[in-house]
Symmetry: C3
Subunit: 392 residues, 3 copies
Amino acid sequence: TSDNKVNDLFQDVHVMIFIGFGFLMTFLKRYGFSSVGINLLLAAFGLQWGLLLQNIWHMHDGKIRVSIEKMINADFSTATVLISFGAVLGKTSPVQLLIMTLLEITIFCINEHLVVEVLNVSDVGASMTIHAFGAYFGLAVAGVLYRPGLRNGHENEVSVYHSDLFAMIGTVYLWMFWPSFNSAIAEPGDPQLRAVINTYFSLAACALAAYATSSLVEKKGKLDMVHIQNATLAGGVAVGTCADMDIQPFGAMAIGITAGVISTVGFKFLTPILASKLGIQDTCGVHNLHGMPGILGGLAGILAAALGKKAGVSPGYQACGLASSLGFALVGGLITGLIMKIPFWGQPPDQNCFDDSIFWEVRQKKIDMLMLFCNARTCSQLFLMLRKMSCS
Amino acid sequence: TSDNKVNDLFQDVHVMIFIGFGFLMTFLKRYGFSSVGINLLLAAFGLQWGLLLQNIWHMHDGKIRVSIEKMINADFSTATVLISFGAVLGKTSPVQLLIMTLLEITIFCINEHLVVEVLNVSDVGASMTIHAFGAYFGLAVAGVLYRPGLRNGHENEVSVYHSDLFAMIGTVYLWMFWPSFNSAIAEPGDPQLRAVINTYFSLAACALAAYATSSLVEKKGKLDMVHIQNATLAGGVAVGTCADMDIQPFGAMAIGITAGVISTVGFKFLTPILASKLGIQDTCGVHNLHGMPGILGGLAGILAAALGKKAGVSPGYQACGLASSLGFALVGGLITGLIMKIPFWGQPPDQNCFDDSIFWEVRQKKIDMLMLFCNARTCSQLFLMLRKMSCS
Amino acid sequence: TSDNKVNDLFQDVHVMIFIGFGFLMTFLKRYGFSSVGINLLLAAFGLQWGLLLQNIWHMHDGKIRVSIEKMINADFSTATVLISFGAVLGKTSPVQLLIMTLLEITIFCINEHLVVEVLNVSDVGASMTIHAFGAYFGLAVAGVLYRPGLRNGHENEVSVYHSDLFAMIGTVYLWMFWPSFNSAIAEPGDPQLRAVINTYFSLAACALAAYATSSLVEKKGKLDMVHIQNATLAGGVAVGTCADMDIQPFGAMAIGITAGVISTVGFKFLTPILASKLGIQDTCGVHNLHGMPGILGGLAGILAAALGKKAGVSPGYQACGLASSLGFALVGGLITGLIMKIPFWGQPPDQNCFDDSIFWEVRQKKIDMLMLFCNARTCSQLFLMLRKMSCS
């Protein structure tokens, strides 16, 4: 029975990694091939590397014993890389990203071993060790790779109608399967069931908060696709640390609502400031989806530990776990960023950023040429001209 | 074991609610954000409201005990809203729809309690209590919100090539996971297995019937995407009531074929009549996918009960269950429609119907402007003009 | 427990058949409706026909006992048809394809009975009996239906940006769930777990090999979407026969890497030669994804049997299984192709190939007209003209 359960959870986490993360990043109009394709490459590479690193210390007769649980943990280790990928999306080459995968998973394994095994910190849904870690690692890399040439944006760093719909495939899969992510390594039985239900409540409350906040901060009460694609998921991130604790639906929903609000507000107000003041260009806004909600999750865990919501968990050690994750992420990200900056990894020049065609054979160009020449002004001129011609 | 099983079924139903219903409605060319996005909003809101309503009567020490079974039932309650959403798609504001969610789930819970608990009606796949109920509720609302200005259609009430493909994601997921929907609350063991297999047969037969009928009623034997997206699923709706009864594959396939035929014929001939004669503008054709097949399911249940296909089920009570579901739907829908008609819920004006940009920030407009000015006639003129110019 | 497990595997295989195969073939710019829609039609028809054929010999009191295992086997039998569909995609009518389904599943059942039941060949993931069989059957049909008029390609036989992204939905689902495909009919317990893990390793290694090879054979080290969509999956095909054998991760990865390399090289160099020299126009390149990797899987099985990696399996019989599958496929495909060539099944003329609008109502034509007239040259002329006009 437990074997089946684990198998299901593995399948759900697998879908989140490959479909969820992959399609969530397809929102850019000319970067869908890379989003799904490089996501597949990094995940396929990362899970082998993660499986090796996580188990090389526990060999039996010179062999690693592979199990579904270990495959789930390998999938988890790739999640950190895919989060960081979001921060540097469109501005890095596949080779740079493979190097990042190699280094980030290594540092993740050290930090996770320290936090979970040595310090005995409780982080079942990995708000700290995966989400906050992956986000701040990626932001540190993005800071090192700062491109002054993109200060005023890039014409390709926008979505089109259908690319936003593709991204919603990723969002909805992540939203649906997040309860599996947060419960996958929970203790079977009540704690696991509690992790499922807390995550479900947090996500449901977070989704409503994200819609409400998006409508409040936008002109005329409109909704913004970027907020819906991302901030609706922040509740899953933020409830991660507490998911298996006895926080009750009220606690889960309070965490979810807070996460939905700060995530949406972050997209609207903080991301532009990070880019202009701190020189951190965060393409997917991972700071809002994984960074701040990850810290919120860590803080909620400290509070829940202080309130005795889980036996054997101490607020002090929880705080150490959060500090360690952030420290390893920032230092590791800085070092990794410096290595990635070495000029022979094929980093794309500014004008080719956010464009698949530098790394992929892209056959169709026509429609873009059309849209290029036919901006609003010329288009209406053409229209008038045509009207005149067809009347005369 | 049963716990795992229930968990799987929950996951499948969850995918149907969020991906299935959400993407099925993305077929309109300019309404994809709302289809997926508002679907997510209504479902996230509805499942909390449904969970509360369904369980507030059975509290223990002032607390609701949450279980996976209750989460399945909450998902089911949102399904009625998403069906009704299909009838009014493109013509209502998010606020109107949230009000509809609040009222419809309340009325659904009353009817379901009456039909299933009090009258002991057998409706395992909910042909009557979810599908027929949701459809006629939505049609009643659509009737109250009738817009004479859309009598001759709307330029945005059409699909484009890729929007039809997005909708097929919804169709295929609903088709694949419908056996889980119809068996989710069946008695474990043989009845549950029977519900899976009967639904599978009904859907397979229905799909063939829908293709054949679509080809027969269209010019030159072509297939129509609208039929394939919807009528292939009618077999899942119609076999719902009988799914756990001993109707044999032959019975299931007969139900599936009938559903596929009447659903396709409904799309072709009945929907235009409903709009022009009765003033019911049914955007997604929920009458054909959920309404008529739901009634067919109820009638098949009466017949199966009369033939003794399930112990302890009486044809009379089954008929009462159908009548009650239709009655609550129509009366509830009329009242809800009147409340939704109150003019300060932000209902969009006629010219902004079926257009995301009234409720969403839509960045890309260029391509539409192009397509707007370049209709077939001006386009060919432009072409001729160009040829002349480039020759001279 | 075993019941749940089987149910999960059925659901996963179902997703591969309907979403995986369906969307994988949507890469053509004007053939998405047919790819997903006809895939659904053939699969819904095929699973009924397969279920009947596979069980008509084992009736109890004149009735077939349906179980989830039998539904998995029926899904498997349709997989052969969907593979062959890929070879003739865009060049056949729905009626032709229904005839192919009828004949191919019949021949598949005979071959499978012979290979698995009579010869006791081990082929748990069906590299030989499904993949190689389906591919060479389809190639034989494509050879018989050779169209000299398409020797120089067809303007619609290309992808556009978003159609390639739709195809990636298919790729990623196939990639994720392939472990379920290869383990679905394995003996429960260790062999089944081994099949999952071997497939996982083979796919992960194959994906890296496909990316590396694609970058090596393309100009400027770019990646080609066609390779990524297909060759990343070849490892799942090739490890099929050996999946439940004791080949160790090293063996699985060696098979995966070989498959990824030969598949990519096949797309780049072999497919054009097959079309020009042998008159076999293989639209989806099934020879590279299912044909060669299927044979590789058969050969790996012979080798593994010779090395004693599974008890009771003989290399000689394994070789007979491969030969039988190829023989039945080629002869069966030739005969089926000749029957499909009879001129009254509505085969589309050359100019209407790869175009949905011959079998589907396609409403939107505008954008194509635009793109048609506005090719690169006229477009720039128009641009210059406009500039002049707006300046003067």
